[in-house]
Amino acid sequence: MSELSEFLQHLANGLVLGFLYALVGIGLSMVYGILRMINFAHGEILMVGVFLALPVSALGAPAWLVLLAGIAGATIMGLIVQWTIYRPLLRSPEVTLLVASLGVSLLLQNLVLMMTSPQPKRPAPAPFLDQPFRLGEIVLRNVDIAIVLIAIAAMLVTHLFLKQTRHGRALRALAQDMSAARMMGVHVPFLVMICFVIGSALAGVAGVLIGYKYGHLTPLSGFLPGLKGFVAAVIGGIGSFPGAVAGGLILGLLEIFVVGYLPDALAQYRDAYVFLVLILVLLVRPSGLFGKPESVKV
């Protein structure tokens, strides 16, 4: 394999991974933009989404149906969490919401652990998705192409929703000035709900795609994607939609290049590098690539 094709192979793998992180990061970023809250349970919503899709897959349903089931599962889980736990806390200080989300995260992990088992699970094999996909010398699988296409489609739909519809506009307005948005007649709890629906649905997409790509699902499977989605959102500038996409792609590329080019002894700490980048970004540009610095008026 030539050096160039090796580079291109890493690039392709990095982009695929990056799209997954971006899908997770968007939901985190949108919730933060409106509630100024870091939803640590976001990864667990993703995990519950896949776990609810697994029985559908076991019944022999096609992959697209499993995907829809995952989206539905994650969305319902996200709504339940938002209605029962976050909604009553809407007027609490942000730190209360943050701690609550940590609690939800642990609760969901352990609930799923109790109801299933720690044994790793995987969706029923989908032979088409596992077939190799060649692009010149680059070798991927069909599932990777599906990830990229589905992620782009999901992002495009979200983008159009935010730009072109009245609720989308209201969501953006809410992130900029909540009380001014209320003065326009925007019903805040309803839009917070929409925000959770979008974020959870995208997490559900990511969850099922992760299931098909890696096929090693445990009740802890949401933890790392959730954390990396958070890092992606911070790198891009938390609260910014394009920022979350860019942050996810950067993070995915970085992780793959670290694994690909560093000696094995160093590459095995791949997750540590992600957080090293987080720390560097926070030191050099705390508001992220697309974020705006928050200033306190005196």
Binding site: R166, R169, A170, R172, Q176, S179, A180, M183, M184, V188
Partner: protein, 531 residues
């Protein structure tokens, strides 16, 4: 630990300025400029303050008064220009370093440590410029540190006594009435014995009796301690009585400097700040409308309304009514409760007591969003546009609850007809518009839902005089569209020019109400309000 100690020592070793009648001015601003995101907040501002001098600094909201304070105290760094305290440049120094050179300030919005006692709050002020004992000595409770604490305590108590609030020393600062908290803030800034004191709106939110007392206190303190004083205040009476000389700034630039009388007679100041109340166009003509409105049914009635922020009362038993199709002006000093009144009518602030009746229905318990769908729309102070969205998107948000596309298109056209300048900028980001254009978009946005009752909060705030007139003429035109307007304005003369009826609000109470022409003719109202 040692780093902290050295820092304290180096601070203490700095040139501590004591009040003296030397030739060197206490404060010099030399062509100071600063920008905020393309907006000039200060432009070539020069100002000299002699030792012991009392100077007033006035200007419209947003003219750069607080920015000037923030630049002097080191919170902001000027883009260009020089700032000298007692002859030494302080540009680039940290706020604590500047404070240790004898510069103390109070804040426009109170910044006390709410959970600490009054005396603890004041003792914090003694840390500046003091030779603090080393942390080790504090931990060991050595005599030096105990002596330091005792002295700090004594000095703080003396400052509290000077401000006649020593009785409150042990109380938790956050629980005290607003007037007392303001004095605690003042005591904290005085305790370090500053040679230059910067007071940012000390009388804002005080009753006239309270501000009278405060003025006496400041006079006595000044006679005793001989600091130079730079005072920002909207209450012209307060400034004129206290300051032999006044500096007026507008758009961050020096407008004029002189005695209170000179300033009051200066034409530029009158148009930029005090207001002439002259509205040229015949477009406004209330005449017939005001007569007719007297007989019309009220669109809004407010009955014995109380509102409070925490324990601080903001509205006390306010009753008023807005006649259908009329413009009702609410005037009063800063902190009188005007914005709170509008916010309570719009539902942003909950009423503590009393009722809000809209078209014969009690809406006191309705949420802000529900009131918008019923036709009560607020255009908030400071415009509050969504800066990252385009002009068009901002306007569309105003029609959030309208689903009929034809109605939305008609509303857009109406707004663009009302403000042709805005029509040219549909695709521009709202945050990049000038202040006047932003105000037009804000008013336009609140008209998108075709309100029955428009609540306009300070529409002329921070606008150039010619734009102010344009805005007021537009307000009169909006009324012709069949919309009733409740108008809160700093510019009382101008507001009464377009209004049919006026209410004067003072410390949360309605103290006067009459048809606008009558209020306007009563020079005592204008005097009391504008100074």
């Amino acid at each position: 630990m040692s780093a902290l100690a050295t820092q304290a020592q180096s601070v203490a070793a700095g040139p501590l300025v004591r009040p003296s009648r030397s030739a060197t001015p206490v404060l010099e601003l030399d062509h100071v400029s600063i920008n905020f995101g393309g907006v000039r907040a200060l432009e070539n501002l020069s100002l000299t303050l002699r030792a012991g001098e009392i100077r007033g600094l006035i200007g419209p909201n947003g003219s750069g008064k607080s920015t000037a304070f923030n630049v002097i105290t080191g919170l902001y760094r000027p883009r260009s220009g020089e700032i000298r305290v007692a002859g030494h440049s302080v540009v680039g120094l940290r706020p604590d370093q500047i404070a240790s050179r004898g510069v103390a300030r109070t804040f426009q919005t109170l910044r006390l440590f709410q959970a600490m006692s009054v005396v603890e709050n004041v003792m914090l002020g003694t840390h500046l410029g003091a030779q603090a004992p080393s942390p080790g000595s504090i931990l060991l409770g050595l005599p030096a540190s105990r002596r330091f604490e005792r002295e700090a305590h004594e000095r703080s108590m003396a400052a509290l006594e000077a401000l006649q609030i020593a009785d409150y020393a042990r109380e938790t600062a956050g629980n005290l009435p607003y007037g007392v908290q303001k004095r605690v803030d003042l005591a904290r800034s005085l305790v370090a014995n500053p040679s230059l004191l910067l007071l940012d709106e000390p009388a804002a939110g005080l009753t006239s009796a309270e501000s009278q007392q405060l003025m006496e206190l400041i006079r006595n303190l000044h006679a005793e301690r001989d600091f130079a004083l730079l005072l920002v205040e909207h209450d012209m009476q307060f400034v004129s009585d206290l300051c032999p000389r006044i500096t007026v700034i507008d758009f961050g630039k020096l407008l004029v400097e002189g005695t209170p009388d000179e300033v009051r007679q200066n034409r530029e100041v009158v148009t930029a700040y005090l207001g002439t109340g002259e509205l040229s166009a015949a477009r406004t003509a209330p005449g017939a409308a005001s007569e007719a409105s007297a007989t019309r049914a009220p669109v809004l009635e407010v009955k014995n309304l109380d509102a409070r922020y925490g324990a601080v009362p903001a509205l006390r038993s306010v009753s008023l009514s807005v006649a259908s199709g009329s413009i009702t002006a609410i005037i009063g000093a800063n902190g009188a409760g005007k914005t709170t009144l509008l916010s309570t009518v719009s539902g942003i602030v909950a009423a503590h007591k009393g009722r809000v009746v809209y078209k014969t229905a009690d809406i006191t318990r309705l949420s802000c969003e529900q009131r918008v769908t019923q036709g009560i729309v607020m255009c908030p102070e400071g415009r509050r546009l969504f800066p990252d969205m385009t002009v068009q998107e901002n306007l569309l948000l105003g029609a959030y609850n309208v689903t009929d596309q034809a109605v939305i298109r008609a509303a857009l056209e109406r707004v663009y007809a009302l403000f042709p300048r805005v029509a040219d900028r549909q695709r521009q980001q709202a945050g990049t518009l000038s202040g006047g254009e932003q105000q037009m978009v804000a008013i336009g946005r609140s008209l998108m839902a075709e309100p029955t009752l428009l609540l306009l909060d300070e529409p002329s705030l921070g606008l150039a005089p010619n734009l102010v007139e344009l805005i007021f003429e537009t307000i009169a035109e909006i009324r012709k569209l069949g919309c009733s307007i409740m108008l809160v304005e700093q510019n009382a003369a101008m507001a009464l020019e377009v209004a049919d009826f006026g209410y004067v609000l003072e410390t949360g109470r309605v103290t006067l109400s009459a048809p606008a022409p009558e209020l306007k003719a009563r020079s005592d109202v204008i005097e009391a309000y504008l100074g």
